[in-house]
Amino acid sequence: MNEANARQKAKGKRQKLQVRNRCVSTVLLPFAFCLLPFALLLSGSRCLAQDARTIIEEVQKRNRTASQRYEGTLQVIDNKKITDKRWIYKRKGSFGESKSVLIFTAPAEVKGVALLIVNHPDRASDQWMWTPSLERERRIAFQDRSTRFFGTDFSFEDLEERDAGQSDFKLLGDDKLDGVDCWLIEARPKEAKQSQYTSVKLWVRKDHWMFMQAESYVKDTLARRMNYSDFAAVQGIWTARTLTILDARRGSRTIMRLEKLAYNEPMKDDDFTIQALRREGS
């Protein structure tokens, strides 16, 4: 979640420096679904323990792929009323210039419900939900991004990918998490209005240049904590295959698992439109 915040912050203004072109997008992770890709390429490498922004940019760089696909499961712990969900996730592009589609496959009641997210390098994403039973889409308004994503501990905002340029970063120092050496970085969205979070603390593991944990704060209160685990290199890209998010205010947790990961498959822009959702759904 921290990452999410950070992304948000990063939004707009990435202009100056860095990254222009190709973006470097980046932001921190897309939380949730999307995110997964943090892959880090080469491992190790030297650590130029430069400043915070450089670190984040490096993380994004290592996670950059032309596309991503996986099958996910979502489990809300301690809430029997919310059944486990399965979906197929596809993303074309990376970070601020990516588009993604998430189609639920199980349980039967939600089969065919889809979410289309179009990220923007300089502002919050556009999100639509497709409901087959009504044969129509609905826009998830920006005002609603801080609400919970269908009873899970994610918020809609946590589904976005953002560029590093949308946030300011500050290196707080080194830290050790589960015996792994990390940099501890604080991200603040440049335009506070665009995010529900005030700041995000990110733990970046030094060995794989990957996020290990993100804590999102509203004011000074911890709102959500995301833990990345079950790391593996998929097609040479380091990916955390389990994400656990904790809603600190409600004390409830949701676990997301990524399976059948595949990177850089060819994908068509046409598949990331509302029309495509309509096709898929029907």
Partner: protein, 851 residues
Amino acid sequence: MILLRLISWPYVRKHLLRTMLTTAGIVLGVGVLVGMRTANETVMGAFQHTVDKIAGATQLQISAGDTGFEEDVLERVQSVPGVRTASAVIEAVAATDLPGQGNLMILGVDMTGDRSLREYSFESGDEAVIDDPLVFLAQADSLMVTSEFAARNHLQTNSRVPLRTMEGPKQFTVRGIMKAGGMASAFGGNLAVMDVYAAQKVFGRGRRFDRIDLAVKDGYTVPQVRQAIQKAIGPGFTVEAPTDRGAQFESIVAAHRISINISSVFALLIGMFIIYNSFTIAVTQRRYEIGILRALGAGRGQIRTLFLMESFIEGVIGSAVGLALGMGLARGMMGQIGGLIESLYGLDQPGNGVLSADPWLLGASFAVGVLTSMFAALLPANEASRVNPVTALQKGKAQEISEKETRLRGWAAVIFGAVAAGCLVFGAYRFIFYFGFLLTILGALLLTPTIALGITRLLRPLLSRLRPVEGALAADSLIQAPRRTAATVAALMLSLTMVVGFGGVAGASYHSITKWMEIALNPDLVVATSDNLASRTYRFPASLGEAIRKLDGVRVVQDVSAPRIIFRGKPILLVAIDITSVQQNAPRRPVQGDETTMYREASAGRGIIAAENLAELQHLRLGEVVDLPTPAGVLHLPLVGIVEDYSDQQGTFLIDRTLYKRAWNDDTCSLFRVYTAKGVSPLEVRQKILDRFGGQSKLFVFTNQELRNYILKITDQWFGMSYAQIFVAIFVAILGIVNTLTVSITDRRRELGVLQAVGALRNQIRHTIWMEAVTVGLVGLLMGLGLGAIYLYYMLEVLRRDVAGLRLGYEFPVSIALALFPVILGAALLSALGPAEAAVRGSLVEALEYE
């Protein structure tokens, strides 16, 4: 105080029955006032309560009458700076097929964002509103109900609830249960939430929303944001606080309120006369006692205070009982008012039976009751204080009205009459008009003794011809006690005045409505979405009209949209219909304007036609340009004609349907008017429509006769309430007669004793009393009919100016007047039975003795 206990209490105890009858006047007056107002307020309060509860944290609501608006307005609103959350809403009332549950208020909202506006407390206590929000949204049949409703119908999660939808009856699934309290308490728990997009489909709304609810961001003020929104979306929309919606609803019941106020005033006036009467009698009867008190040194002030205290206590008791009675009445009437509002406006209020008694109203009514009682006792109390100790101890008559007083009354009445007439000339001002109205009634009351005496004198020979002894005695007894007689006659006159007034208005209304139905309501069939024609829950797609048009035996189908829109702050009816077709099939002669021009301009979409009542209420003039708010902006249309039309009490505009479709971008229909081909039975066509479309769409087909009956039924409901008031008024007046007679026989105990001593049989005594009662009834009746004739004029004016804008022809309700003769004379006779029996009972010896 000690006087009260020593002097008043024994008297009251001795005349307990009479005291009770007297107090009944106040009881009924206060009861009617409280009852009717409370019933009204409760229904209104329930509505406001519903609005408030449903509104939750909503600070502003955006609407465009009944028509709704397109979805993109939501994004425009959401992007206005200062808007924290804006959420689309569809509000509808749907019939459930659950036994005994009637209608369910359905709120369609977007659950993704709506939660920051509305508190949905869940049974589990978990914030997770719905068991599984994704499932709720994914399934179009998801419904969230209140725990109260669930308990009543033994529903649990995943239970099925049948609802009537545009596509016929459908099963919905409970996927969430709201805890009681908060929003769930609105509509007595008959409330359900569904997804707004599902609601669009279920209720035939197309891609439109009814309303947007929104909350303002911190740092912005509501007026600021309201202005910004109005600017962003244009003047065709109403942007208002949820509390303002109540104000609109209020104008709906305003008509009812005016008639309640008039009735209450009458009820209290009637009560006042009964009390006045009673005290006058008491003073007369107690002259001797007063004389003794005065002789023993009681001051005038003390005597006056004594009587005022008595009236105060009587007022307090009467008012207290009246409050209780009022609450009972309110309970009884609530259903009736609710029913009326439902059939008029399609709003259902399954009240939870909780009366919302306004403490101010209760307090004020109480005070009014007590003050009325004291005011009524003021004159008698003054008279008592003027009792001369010497003459009081001798025998004498005190009831007579001096010539001076008669003359004074006469002059005052003449002056009142003249001023009232003057008020009519300058009656354009509301205040002056009502002032004149009041003066007319007061003038009539001032003249009551004189006229009542005059009539009784005229009747005397007639009565003595009928029964030489009894008739003459009856008439004399009335003539002998002019105050007593006049007060009773006044009470009766007032109540009959009301009867004539309401009867006349009802008669004129029925007459006009029937005439209008003959001309304007001539389609053979009407296809509607509900058995309640006023319901605006469902809408038909225009394609259905096309399909009906293609049926064999159908000659013409007129598509009609009839949304309620807000015009100058009032919810009025907009009827959009093919004007050319109207001209061909149901041509109406305009009250104002040229027929040809009217139809030509209106059908071309270059003009608008107003119902006469709307023109009257809003002071619209022919040729004036009317500003009609539409979601696309304000439509400026010249008024090309004014026609008689009783579709809606608040007023109706007629425009061409093509224009409507363009300006509102809405082609849904409220109903279809169907004309069958020559020689084809409408019943046959109705069957065809039902067979062909009944399965796929929710529709009701009315024949012309059914339609008329429906309208007459609503009219009946409306007047039914007036009838209830009339009934009460007559009842009070009859009580007045009972009271007068009871007093009269007490007064004349000795006289009746003499009669019996010199040989009057008991039946002869009875007949005397009966004739007395019937004479009072007759006098009251004649005067009531006379004043009623004037009152009817005022009622029609009130109706035209302030209630419904209707210009109804003056027509004295002859049949009602004729029916009143047996009713009132019979009631008078009935009311005499008890007193007459009392008169023949009891000891003759005592009656003849002196106290």
